[in-house]
């Protein structure tokens, strides 16, 4: 009750014990034996401004209560899953945004598609957005970091930010340039993102072609493209489409075709292969030069492969079956990618141990009590098990 009183002035708070269970999940598949490491939050608070966020953080710091930020809970890396009894800071009510010449200033809870719709009405468009854009939030995608629609031309979300407004235990401030690396892809462990200034593009019509070709041939067709993704025949047949490998190549100029138009039209209806049983989708990022080599390996061991081409790298999403054997396969895929100069797509709860010294030192300085999304930087039960299994696989 006391905790509720402290937070109720920020508007909506949730403390119904059963409803709090909802906030123990995001899109991460949690093996049952691990579910005991997940903690139910004490309360969910929905701030409406950066000032609210700062005030909530002050209360949490005073009482040493951990904070877990939450957008739409669609990330598959467990970043929004509480590993300690905590306050969940839910950003859904901080969803305003405004369009200024050539840029978009959005609160962290703004949903990508809603901004895209408004931008389109103004002759502008987002440069990049995730395929979960219909539901996911600005803060969530930035904090996870990643690639999406438009990344072939414009790169990752990190490359399309002008500045971030951050709240940490020292207050509210604007962060620009290199300093943004502390907040993109660090899952809310170093500060809370309250606003972002996002680069936009002129809303040129996107023309798409679907080309039947091999992965190697696909790489040679990317020049001048805005967005490109490749699905192998196994992936497509799981989706219920044709049985030939397909490259979808889209550009802001040039021609399109009917299949390309249809595939583009379905870009925000992802994950259709989930209807064919529970799956694990390991995601890795490879440098362009080793993409073909990695593809050959991943093609062999997966049940389907989707590849998203970005400006300076290639993102592989492998579809595997469910169960422990496939989890091991997923780890193998990550290990091979690392051997070829690549990396796991994002860290979150599952790969929380791999941050560099710069980031870890910053964490110690800015959050000495480890209250910001604890367990998501350094070891936790999940990343420890994954790390150990990874070592075993490698030795074997």
């Amino acid at each position: 009750m006391l905790v509720k009183d402290s937070f109720s002035r920020f508007g909506t708070v949730e403390d119904h014990p059963e409803v709090l269970k909802i906030y123990c999940y995001d899109f991460t598949l949690i093996p049952r034996i691990f579910s005991r490491f997940i903690k139910r939050p004490i309360i969910v608070v929905q701030p409406r401004s950066a000032e609210d966020v700062a005030e909530i953080m002050r209360i949490c710091e005073r009482h040493e209560i951990p904070i877990v930020p939450r957008g739409a809970g669609t990330s598959a890396y467990g970043g929004a899953i509480p590993l300690k009894s905590c306050v969940v800071m839910d950003f859904k009510r901080m969803c305003n945004f405004e369009i200024r010449d050539g840029e978009l200033v959005a609160q962290s809870g703004a949903v990508w598609i809603e901004m895209e719709r408004e931008l389109n009405r103004n002759g502008e468009a987002l440069r990049v957005y995730p395929t979960s854009a219909n539901v996911s939030t600005v803060g969530g995608w930035i904090a996870q970091g990643g690639y999406g629609i438009g990344s072939l031309r414009y790169g990752s979300i990190a490359e399309n930010l002008k500045w971030l407004e951050i709240v940490d235990f020292e207050g509210i401030r604007i962060v620009k340039g290199e300093e943004m690396r502390y907040y993109v892809g660090t899952f809310g462990c170093l500060g809370i993102i309250t606003r972002a200034c996002i680069k936009t593009r002129k809303n040129e019509p996107i023309n798409c072609r679907a080309v039947h070709c091999s992965f190697e041939e696909a790489i040679s067709m990317l020049e001048g493209g805005y967005h490109a993704s490749f699905k192998n025949s196994k992936y497509l047949s799981l989706e219920g489409f044709g049985a030939k490998d397909v490259l979808l190549i889209c550009s802001e100029k040039g021609d399109g075709d009917e299949t390309g138009k249809m595939m583009w039209g379905r870009r925000l209806i992802p994950l259709r292969i989930a209807s064919k049983g529970k799956r694990i989708f390991p995601e890795v990022v490879l440098p362009h030069e080793n993409a073909v080599k990695f593809y050959e390996y991943a093609e062999r061991i997966s049940e389907g492969l989707e590849v998203v081409f970005a400006k300076d790298c290639v993102v592989f999403i492998a579809a595997l079956g469910n169960g422990y054997r496939n989890m091991l396969k997923a780890l193998k895929i990550v290990k091979i990618a690392e051997k070829l100069g690549g990396r796991v797509y994002a860290r979150g709860m599952l790969f929380s141990s791999g941050y560099g010294k710069d980031i870890s030192d910053y964490k110690k300085r800015i959050d000495p009590k480890n209250l910001l999304n604890p367990g998501k930087m350094g070891w936790n039960a999940f990343s420890m098990s994954i790390g150990l299994l990874g070592k075993l696989i490698w030795t074997a």
């Binding site: 949730e14 409803v19 909802i22 669609t74 009405r121 219909n134 539901v135 292969i273």
Partner: protein, 348 residues
Amino acid sequence: MDCIRCGLCNVCPVFRVEKLESVSPRGKIIVSKSIDSRIARDFFKCSVCGLCEVVCPVNLKLTEFWEKKREELFEKKLAPLPIHKKLREMTFRDFNPYRGKQEKRAEWLEFPVGKSKTLYFAGCTASYRLQNMAKASAMALKELGIEFTVLGPEEYCCGSPFLRTGQKDIGRFLFEKNIRAWQKAGVEEILTSCPGCYKTISQDYPRFARELGYSFEFEVKHVSMIFSKLAKGKLGFKATYHDPCHLGRHMGIYEEPRDAIRRCGIKLVEMERNREFALCCGAGGGLRSQFKEISIAICEERIREALSTGTDILITSCPFCEYNFTRTGKERIKVFDLSEIVCMTLFP
């Protein structure tokens, strides 16, 4: 439920307004095994529009799930919610949820009709509230050469608002009243202009018939299926079309109303979200009656989307949608039922 918790169902229009995960489809699935009165209330914050089911990558039968859950809550006495209860009491008494007098049920009818094997079933809303719709549907059908009858005092609420809110008992009661009247009148074909009635009579009634030992051999049609073949005109103006959830997502009727609109000579401009991805108007599933503010907020969003097509003429084919759009949009938007459009071509 084999939910993979991807969260794609957060497109839910009610969730978008409420912004609380306890009303999101994913959230409701997570808490669905431990429902108390607070959670039960959240289960009714849903217009049963079915958008969650369309976007769900696992193809979960979510609409059926919400309706089953509501039935369970009703059985456990966690429902009906207060306004739904009031409507229930009124309907047990008056056979409609509008306090309308049974003998005045066909007061809207402006011409005599004889006996026929084809019945025009106007439904409660068009009979008592939006009589323009019943009048226009009947006039258009007549003018297009469709012979039909109207049962008037022998027509009873189809039960849709109750079945969508988990109250099967009153649904069964109304089913029996209606089917007996239809059998007595020798009806073989039923035409409806209300998608709620259309869904209920096509999908729920055959189930009741099996359960209660009636034979059910009626052919059920929504009037748009007739207009799509017979309407023609040169109206020439620009309009957009809103897919009613019960007609579109629930019954798969997307093209017939569009064909009818085009046949009337209207330049149809689509909203960004159309057909199976159309945004609900916010009125269905007992939402408008119990949670009016949420319903209005959803409707506002849809009106904004309609206006951004560059026309202020919106055509729909459902009395609930028409009512919600007219009440919420006021003079910002001109709302017509499809049958009114067909009448414009027939009675210029």
